[in-house]
């Protein structure tokens, strides 16, 4: 123990500066960069749904010719990659912290997993009875809808305004896309949804400092 450890801060201003500095450095190191929560998903949506739109364009057309399996495969690979980046990023920041935050994170992650599992069971059951364009719309519209709702729930859990507003935005974008119809939905989700995720990441970054 060094002798000046026991020393009191020189004065009140010094103590305040010490408090601020230590708070900032702790926050910085526990949550390295909020963009890691948003940008992987943003790029996955922008590219994934964008390519989907180019292949399965409105009115059954094809703007860019490519194998029919490619767009969805690409989308799933990008989403999986985003999930890995997101998971590793949060786990690393919160390593060695136990308690209520970890519990919230685990339950929230479970809600995502179970939510998407139940959704895929339901759609898988009815998808064969639908024309291909409507089946595609059902898959993406329900997925984006659930994502929007879970973002709002996340905002409520962590009292995070950016996250809640993003959920509202994604929900609105999804509704507009569905009304516009098959094909258009992918374009709207790619540009407005993916773009919304990127903007939310930039906003969270700015607030984080």
């Amino acid at each position: 123990m060094t002798p000046d450890d026991e020393a009191a801060p020189l004065d009140a201003a010094e103590a305040m500066r010490l408090i601020r500095e230590q708070q900032a450095s702790t926050v910085q190191r526990l949550e390295p960069d909020p963009r890691v929560h948003y940008w992987p998903w943003g790029f996955a949506w922008l590219i994934g749904f964008g390519v989907y739109f180019l292949r399965f364009s409105p009115d059954g057309r094809t703007l860019v010719d490519m194998p029919a399996w490619l767009p969805l495969t690409l989308l799933f690979v990008l989403l999986a990659a985003a999930a890995v980046v997101f998971g590793v990023g949060s786990a690393r920041a919160y390593r060695h912290v136990a308690g209520e935050s970890a519990q919230r994170g685990r339950w929230y992650g479970t809600a995502w997993g179970l939510g998407f599992f139940s959704l895929s069971v339901v759609i898988g059951r009815v998808t064969d009875s639908l024309p291909p364009d409507l089946a595609g719309l059902l898959w993406s519209a329900l997925s984006v809808g659930l994502t929007g709702a879970l973002h709002m729930a996340g905002g409520a859990i962590w009292l995070d305004r950016t996250l809640f507003r993003l959920g509202v935005w994604l929900t609105a974008v999804n509704i507009v896309g569905v009304i516009a119809g098959p094909g258009w939905h992918a374009l709207v989700v790619s540009v407005a949804g993916g773009g919304g995720l990127l903007v939310a990441g930039a906003l969270a970054r700015r607030r984080h400092g």
Binding site: D5, T26, R29, E100
Partner: protein, 103 residues
């Protein structure tokens, strides 16, 4: 002058308390991670944690994570309140609420 809590009003312990208070209420952190966040030696941190524990400001649990023994540290409710009071007192010193009379 307002009396400042002597347990918290020491540079090293103030940093420990601030770090623990920054965690969400109810969260516990492992000893090595806390050490890393504070860049203190293990011995040094132990000494300060013991003083904080004696004051009832910090709760230290020795448990097992799988097979490895783990020490988890958290700010007690009392510790959090003491830190809030300390911060308020510091604020009051910096910005006196009612300028009654000056010395």
């Amino acid at each position: 002058m307002t009396e400042l809590d002597p347990v918290i009003h020491a540079q090293a312990r103030l940093r420990v308390v601030v770090t623990l208070a920054t965690l969400a209420d109810g969260d516990r952190i492992t000893f090595p991670r806390l050490q890393e966040l504070l860049t203190m030696t293990a011995g040094n941190l132990s000494v300060h944690l013991r003083k904080l524990e004696d004051a009832g400001y910090v709760e230290i649990d020795k448990t097992h994570r799988g097979r490895t023994p783990t020490t988890l540290v958290r700010l007690s409710r009392r510790g959090r309140r003491a830190f809030e009071e300390y911060t308020e007192n510091i604020r009051a010193l910096l910005d006196p609420p009612a300028p009654r009379e000056t010395r």
